[in-house]
């Protein structure tokens, strides 16, 4: 086994917390091949365990792809350690409805990505042939798309350069496919320690891509995904979070399922308000009416199910200053007040939901905040109409 492969295996295993070691290893197909008889790793020092495993992998000639697969499994367990961007693809109207073939998807994804990367290195953005105006504002990826679509295989590329990129797939729950891409160059082997992950749900227009510093590779990736899944266009949505499952739930509108089956009109009068009994009964009555109203509106907007988890929402405001204070402040100024507002919380939507009942916000809350799941956005630019 190559020394770099051994190192890659070692570093991947070292990342895994001891408590999860057996679960993750058993999910790894190669673990059965190394015929390891261990069924438990408790009470063992991690270093010696890793040492043994690496030796066994060496014996059985583990390949980069085996180690990459282990890394995918680890990442599936620790998906919240990455920040995920949502991408949406579209088809041209009237396009044929294709049956999805996973095998074909995987092989064409890999091929297209390798070719695109090769092209990108042969024709850097500046030298790429200029084509129709539609592509000029779309940058490098669009130009490549033009090159490829004009005859993707017309270019004389008999040899597929394998070391440009290494691509690994793993089928996951709900038909999803996890794709791990390690990027290389013409001169350098793929860097296995800074991969990009793509989670694609076949026959849907959505893909989730882990954000990385290699920004230039993302267009190529989007392009490979678009062509392989037989779409025509891909757009990055203004929607990102660590919580992949919540992004997925929002995008596929799965978060309100509990809401639909649950009776939302529980009699609110039954709930104790915890007010002092000696208080004027009319005040209690007034309070209760107001509390009920706020509660009702909040539930109408947010539902009474647990909110999908997001950590932040950001608003770039470029709106004119208007004040209820009515003192002519900034009245003559035509320029907008430029603000950047960022809300952050371990569970943003739950936090927002609690604002009006706590008396911190009006009920209903601003649509700017309540539209997040519906619009599938958490980055906004707000301007005056």
């Amino acid at each position: 086994m190559d020394e770099t492969v051994a190192e890659f295996v070692k570093r991947t295993i070292l990342k895994i917390p001891v408590a999860e070691m057996m679960t993750i290893l058993q999910a790894w197909g190669f673990y059965l091949k190394i015929n390891c008889r261990r069924t438990s790793t408790s009470g063992e020092r991690k270093e010696s365990l890793v040492h043994d495993l690496v030796l066994l992998c060496e014996e059985k000639r583990a390949r980069v792809s085996d180690a990459a697969l282990l890394d995918i499994i680890y990442t599936q367990f620790h998906r919240h350690q990455k920040v995920w961007d949502v991408f949406q693809m579209t088809k041209e109207p009237g396009g044929d409805i294709d049956l999805f073939d996973m095998k074909q998807f995987k092989s064409s994804f890999k091929k297209i990505l390798q070719r695109a990367l090769k092209m990108a290195q042969l024709y850097p953005a500046k030298e790429a042939p200029q084509s129709d105006s539609a592509s000029s504002h779309m940058g490098n990826s669009a130009r490549l798309w033009v090159i490829l679509s004009r005859g993707p295989f017309a270019c004389n590329m008999s040899r597929v350069i394998n070391f440009l990129v290494s691509v690994t797939f793993r089928d996951a729950e709900e038909n999803a496919v996890w794709i791990r891409i390690a990027w290389g160059t013409q001169y350098r082997k793929p860097n296995q320690y800074k991969p990009t992950y793509v989670v694609y749900y076949p026959q849907t227009p959505y893909a989730f891509i882990s954000s990385s510093q290699l920004r230039s590779s993302i267009p190529l990736l989007g392009q490979a995904l678009t062509i392989a899944s037989k779409h025509h266009r891909i757009v990055k949505m203004d929607f990102r979070s660590r919580y992949l499952d919540s992004l997925k739930a929002i995008v596929f509108e799965q978060y309100n399922q509990t809401f639909e089956t649950h009776n939302a009109t529980t009699p609110l009068q039954e709930r104790s308000l915890g007010l002092d009994i000696n208080m004027d009964s009319r005040i209690i009555h007034e309070n209760r009416i107001e509390k009920d109203r706020v509660q009702k509106i909040t539930e109408e907007v947010f539902g009474d199910y647990p909110q999908p988890r997001l950590e932040f929402a950001q608003y770039k405001l470029e709106t004119k200053f208007k004040s209820d204070l009515n003192r002519g402040i900034l009245a003559e100024r035509n320029e907008p007040l430029r603000c950047l507002v960022k809300f952050s919380s371990p569970n943003l939507l739950e936090a927002l939901k609690s604002l009006a009942p706590a008396g911190i916000a009006d009920a209903p809350l601003s649509p700017l905040l309540t539209c997040i799941p519906k619009k599938r956005m958490n980055y906004f630019k707000i301007k005056d109409k």
Binding site: T319, P336, L337, S345, E350, A358, I360, D362
Partner: protein, 347 residues
């Protein structure tokens, strides 16, 4: 000419007829109520105050390098009661005594992280010029340095801990203190907390003084935001940012509200009247405007949440009593306000 520079060093009362001024000639009961209100808001001073001096009052003999290292560093604030029998002529001796004290504490087996080994040295020096008036005593700088074990590497001295004591426009305190005392009510520390505690213990023992952490409440944070927004900065290095924390929700929520510094300045200029001084009414109005603009968009009442941090191109301050000064020009102005807060806490 700079409109913010006024020659007087004592805050000038505005001649306008604001409710505050009416109280001056009010009945004893009203006056008492007024003082209660002042205390309730923990306001060190409700009268108008001057915005930080544009032209710094640093004396010309000040070593610019000595001041530069005070900037862009996060300092934890403490207030300090006057030091008994502190002498500027004994700084060398204090260095030796504090070094010995730290070494002794270390040998006692107390958890003191001042370096991997005991090769430490303490240095006391006067930071000349970091003061508001000639009556203010010179600021004092204390550093814990690591001694290089090899003499050949003597060029490299690592600073393990830094703390400094100052008094900028501390007239109100200076007037009340007997002769044997030195007033340096503001103490700023950067480095391991264990070192801060150790230095604090030695000062308390040696000069019979007492330290207490200086928190900055929302009221004072608002003042800082307004005064610093009012400052003329050559180059904006940061946005005017407010960080609000929302209490009493099952999930904590932080709201960062950043305003383009030019726009924040325009808003300030619109609420601000008399040049050279800032009034409580203006500060309140400035904050109300920002909150109202926010409410218009998000329907959230920021006034019901907690202001925890403000940052501008001049400085940033956290309610925990952490400060970072960014602008050399307004160093003295920022320190003057902090000195005022420290004196208020001592009194």
């Amino acid at each position: 000419m700079d409109s913010y520079h006024t020659p007087q060093s004592i805050p000038r009362r505005s001649a306008s007829s604001r409710p505050k001024e009416h109280c001056l000639g009010a009945t004893p009961l009203q006056r008492r109520l007024e003082s209660v209100r002042k205390q309730a808001s923990r306001a060190p001073a409700s009268p108008p105050r001057r915005v930080p001096q544009r032209r710094s009052q640093l004396r010309e003999d000040v070593d610019p390098q000595k001041v530069a290292f005070l900037l862009h560093k996060q300092w934890t604030l403490y207030s300090l009661t006057p030091l008994y029998k502190f002498s500027y002529t004994n700084l060398k001796e204090y260095s030796k005594l504090l070094s010995a004290f730290i070494a002794a504490e270390k040998q006692k087996g107390l958890a003191v992280e001042v370096g991997a080994d005991l090769n430490i040295r303490v240095s006391f020096s006067a930071l000349r010029g970091v003061k508001g008036t000639h009556r203010d005593p010179d600021a004092v700088l204390v550093q814990i340095l690591s001694k290089s074990p090899l003499p050949s590497e003597s060029g490299e001295v690592k600073v393990l801990w830094t703390g400094w004591f100052c008094c900028v426009f501390g007239d109100s305190l200076l007037e009340t203190v007997p002769e044997d005392f030195t007033c340096l009510p503001l103490f700023l520390a950067s480095g391991a907390e264990t070192s801060t505690a150790l230095v604090g213990t030695w000062f308390q023992k040696t000069f019979d003084c007492s330290f207490s952490p200086l928190a900055i409440n929302a009221f004072n944070l608002s003042w800082m935001a307004a005064m610093w927004t009012a400052c003329q900065v050559d180059r904006y290095v940061a946005t005017t940012e407010f960080l609000w924390s929302v209490p009493c929700s099952p999930q904590s929520l932080d709201i960062s509200y950043a305003i383009h510094p030019e726009d924040a300045k325009a808003l300030w200029d619109s609420v601000h009247r008399a040049p050279g001084e800032v009034t409580q009414e203006e500060v309140d109005l400035f904050m109300e405007c920002l909150c109202s603009h926010f409410h218009r968009h998000f329907k959230i009442h920021l006034s019901a949440t907690r202001l925890v941090r403000v940052s501008t191109s001049v400085a940033s301050a956290h309610t925990d009593g952490k400060i970072k000064i960014l602008c050399h020009k307004y160093l003295i102005g920022v320190l003057a306000y902090l000195t005022e807060l420290a004196i208020f806490q001592i009194e």
